[in-house]
């Protein structure tokens, strides 16, 4: 482990990678602040840039920086404008915005920054401990278990989708898997489902799909219904917090970074669920008089979701780096980018490419530090972004989605596919279908089928399911994950509230 740490430090502290961290964090903060644009769209837009750099460590460092930068930036608009930039920071506006209304915007931003930093930092520490342990277990896995594990991951995403949404999330996952079968499979070299169209021979482009699923619908939604940016956060001054306040929030930060991290590890439950849950838990265990404050500018109520969402972001890297199975839309996009760079995340990553693995973890420490010391003093100026007129912003977002799809394939037909899928994705979004499962299914589809085929060939049939107890057990869990929530939802549909939003 020490050796790994040194390799990581060496890679992460190269000039190029340091610049990547800083650039990623700044871009992420910048975009995350804009209400309506989530981390998934900005990461989707950044992918062509990251892939063309050709260096997987640098690419992953950049994209990870954008990810937690966006979560960090989202809290700024939550606090100042009550208009959360990303779903994961909605809970921060419960107490952050009241604080800003009371003229304590600067203090709120400081608390948010410190909590985010602590959450990310402790999350990275936990990642350092748990990822190697998990990947040494994962090395014992056979392709049959991998197949089963991916099925569990996919069904967990459906299970966490919320009330009345399980079938929709499931259908979207299956649709993603179906889309992944278009083109030539690795095992057979036969074109499938191409309808004779040459452009589909290599399958659908992953970048095109990511853009069409996330960036384009979000931009269209901004066109259809402009977000009100009229909120008045007041002047930002007094960034200092007192010693008593620091003492009050430190246990909250401690608890929430651990809880948030483990929620982030679960497939399907990301920063959004972590932040809501963190807020609820802290409100319940707070003292009576402090409970009254929640919702009216409680510093604990702000620190809890801020810590939890950042820790969950880091936690979501665990399944990605150790098992190669993304649990959220964002990590699915990261996985796609890594595959495009010829790196296969999974238990072998730590052995084959230790510099990537450790450099990413090291860059998380650096990135969180960058966010704290670079962004905190700059926030009043960065907040000016919020006044960028949407008349200029939206054409640029659309242009970047087009550019990303074009650079990826160098083919103008891809742009038409992008627009077509974008319209379809917008329609799906209208009807409240979750889009992240589709992309996760699409990215996992190839690997799922390969592992399935390999075990079928080794056991000459589906016997592997019954001969390997672990495979059978995992598959049973997968089925239960889908059936139990829908069963419960049918029984208790009266008193339900669904918290599900892609992140």
């Amino acid at each position: 482990m020490l050796e790994g740490l040194l390799i990581g430090l060496q890679t992460a502290f190269s000039i190029q990678n340091l610049l990547m961290v800083i650039a990623g964090c700044l871009i992420g903060t910048f975009i995350g602040m804009l209400p309506g644009l989530g981390p998934m769209s900005i990461i989707a837009i950044m992918i062509p840039v990251a892939i063309s750099m050709g260096d997987p460590s640098a690419a992953l460092i950049l994209l990870a920086g954008v990810y937690y930068g966006a979560i960090f930036g989202g809290s700024t608009s939550s606090i100042l404008l009550n208009a959360p930039g990303v779903a994961g920071t909605v809970a921060s506006s419960f107490d952050g915005y009241p604080m800003a209304r009371q003229g304590k915007a600067g203090k709120a931003l400081t608390i948010a920054a410190i909590s985010s930093f602590a959450g990310g930092f402790i999350g990275a520490l936990l990642l350092m401990v748990f990822a190697p342990a998990l990947s040494s277990v994962a090395l014992l896995f056979h392709s049959a278990e991998y197949f089963a594990l991916m099925v569990v991951g996919l069904s967990a995403i459906a299970a966490f989708a919320g009330t009345g949404q399980v079938a929709k999330a499931l259908l979207m996952t299956l649709l993603g898997l179906i889309m992944a079968t278009v083109g030539e499979g690795a095992l057979f070299n036969l074109p499938r489902f191409t309808m004779g169209i040459m452009d589909l021979q290599s399958g659908f482009g992953f970048i095109t799909l990511a853009m069409a699923m996330f960036a384009l619908p979000e931009a269209l939604f901004l066109v259809l219904k402009p977000k009100e940016l009229g909120g008045d956060g007041g002047e930002i001054k007094e960034l200092r917090i007192s010693r008593a306040e620091a003492k009050a929030i430190s246990p909250v930060i401690g608890r929430q970074s651990i809880q948030g991290f483990f929620i982030g590890v679960l497939p399907g439950a990301g920063a959004t669920i972590a932040s809501f849950l963190g807020y609820a838990v802290e409100r319940n265990i707070a003292k009576k008089e402090e409970q009254e404050e929640f919702g009216n500018g409680s510093i604990k109520g702000l620190a809890a979701p801020e810590t939890a969402n950042n820790a969950a972001c880091t936690g979501s890297f665990v399944p990605l780096l150790t098992l190669g199975i993304p649990g959220s839309g964002t990590t699915a996009i990261l996985l796609g980018a890594l595959l495009a760079l010829n790196v296969t995340p999974g238990p072998r990553l730590m052995i084959d490419d230790p510099q990537i693995f450790w450099a990413v973890i090291m860059s998380m420490f650096i990135g969180n530090l960058v966010l704290l010391i670079l962004n905190l003093p700059l926030i009043p100026y960065i907040a000016k972004v919020l006044t960028v007129p949407r008349n200029y912003l939206i054409p640029f977002i659309l242009f970047f989605t087009l550019m990303g799809a074009y650079i990826g394939q160098n083919n103008a037909t891809e742009l038409l596919i992008l627009v077509g899928f974008g319209i379809a994705a917008t329609a799906l979004k209208f009807a409240d279908y979750p889009l992240a499962p589709l992309l996760i299914g699409f990215i996992l589809g190839g690997m799922l089928e390969d592992n399935f085929s390999r075990s079928m060939q080794l056991y000459d049939g589906v016997g592997f399911i019954f001969e390997r107890p672990m495979t059978l057990g995992l598959l049973v869990i997968a089925v239960l994950l889908v059936i139990v929530p829908s069963y419960r939802a049918r029984r208790a549909k009266a008193r339900q509230e669904g918290v599900a939003e892609g992140d």
């Binding site: 840039v49 063309s52 009330t163 009345g164 949404q165 399980v166 079938a167 929709k168 499931l170 259908l171 299956l174 649709l175 898997l177 179906i178 079968t181 095992l187 057979f188 036969l190 499938r192 489902f193 269209l220 066109v223 259809l224 219904k225 402009p226 007129p389 008349n391 200029y392 939206i394 054409p395 640029f396 659309l398 242009f399 087009l402 550019m403 074009y406 650079i407 103008a412 742009l415 038409l416 992008l418 627009v419 329609a427 209208f430 009807a431 409240d432 279908y433 089928e449 399935f452 085929s453 079928m456 060939q457 056991y459 000459d460 049939g461 829908s486 939802a489 049918r490 549909k493 669904g498």
Partner: protein
């Protein structure tokens, strides 16, 4: 019928075509030696088509009850939003896709950015043109020189 069930119906149709291909037409092209393999190219799609059909039927028949969530945008009142702008922007993207190669990157991109802001209601031409030109040249430089991907900058007859 609500939009989500219409969509489920459309997806069901897609799955039927997909399933038909997987179950009945794909195996005919298979080479004889591959038929001895326990897994065929059509095996996985066959499973998927059945599962997806089941899932879309569950939504279509409304077997899973869930409360109506307050959506960000209510599609039933689509006319009240800026629908025209959205459609025009989508058309603009299609036009951009078709014209990118023939008229070159710089012209197409600056045109796209200017018209895009125009559609959204911007009328300050001097700023629009300036921003669009700077952005087009800057992105072209990045893609061509830094990333090393060739893009024809000018229309063909100008020798671009």
């Amino acid at each position: 019928m609500a939009l989500d069930r219409w969509i489920a119906l459309i997806i069901l149709g897609i799955c039927l075509i997909y399933g038909y291909t997987a179950w009945f037409t794909m195996d005919a092209q298979l080479a004889p030696f591959m038929k001895r393999n326990p897994i065929w190219p059509s095996t996985f799609p066959k499973v998927l088509s059945v599962l997806a059909m089941a899932a879309s039927l569950i939504i279509l028949l409304g077997l899973e009850k869930g409360e109506q969530k307050e959506a960000d945008i209510d599609y039933r009142r689509l006319g009240e939003y800026h629908l025209g702008q959205a459609i025009l922007l989508l058309l603009l993207m299609v036009v951009y896709a078709l014209l990118l190669r023939p008229i070159g990157f710089l012209v197409a991109t600056s045109g796209f950015l200017i018209l895009g802001s125009f559609i959204l209601g911007e009328r300050k031409w001097h700023i629009m043109v300036l921003v669009a030109l700077i952005a087009a040249v800057f992105v072209w430089y990045l893609v061509q020189q830094v990333l090393g991907i060739y893009m024809r900058p000018l229309p063909g007859f100008l020798g671009g």
